[in-house]
Amino acid sequence: MADAVVVVALLAVAGLATAAVANRDPARQALVLAVLGTALAVLFTVLQAPDVGLSQLAVGSALTPLLIMLSVRKVRRRSAHGKDSKQ
């Protein structure tokens, strides 16, 4: 039973990692990374590593995507601003 959960979590991680790489739009990638972070947290918990799971949940599914979203916002705002000044 535990083995089956591990296998499912592993396959989910592999699939989400592929999706994170394949999503070329960084804002959407940030969302996929958040889900990947959660899947990793689940995997780590079933691998009997609750400490790491907790850490991954806080960092991988909240902090890193948040930082990426903020960067995306800055970059987009900048390019919008740049276009305005050109007009």
């Binding site: 990947l36 995997l43 691998l47 590593a49 790491v52 991954q56 890193t64 990426i68 960067s71 800055k74």
Partner: protein, 125 residues
């Protein structure tokens, strides 16, 4: 018997293969990325592969988490705490290094007006 042993054989290496696959996918994304923010995200994917590998290496069948606040020491086998400690710190530190890379990307966007590596026309030759 044949199929069962095949299943065990797969579960014996599957976690390692998944780690290797995630690592390679991350490398592929990094090399072919058209957006530097996306590239930083791919690097984070590569990094998570190292966590999967480390924790898979430390797993023990039937083991429990090495925390003895609610189990009696010695009553059950526990998984390897060392790899968990290594991974735990690296997760948090990895996020801050990602932040450092994103900070550089934000500055590139400001100075070059683009985050597409194909359009960065400096530092050649």
């Amino acid at each position: 018997m044949g199929s069962e042993s095949a299943v065990t054989a797969v579960t014996h290496v599957l976690p390692y293969l998944v780690a290797a696959y995630v690592f390679l996918v991350g490398c592929y994304g990094l090399a072919t990325s058209r957006n530097l923010i996306h590239a930083v995200g791919c690097l984070a994917v590569c990094q998570s592969a190292t966590y999967v590998l480390l924790l898979a290496v430390g797993y023990r069948d039937g083991g429990t988490a090495p925390v003895f606040s609610d189990i009696r020491p010695g009553s059950r086998p526990v998984v390897d705490p060392v790899v968990q400690a290594l991974t735990l710190t690296d997760v948090v530190v990895g996020a801050t290094v990602t932040a450092l890379l994103l900070a550089l990307t934000v500055q590139i966007a400001k100075r070059h007006g683009t985050v597409d590596p194909d359009e960065l026309r400096e530092l050649r030759g």
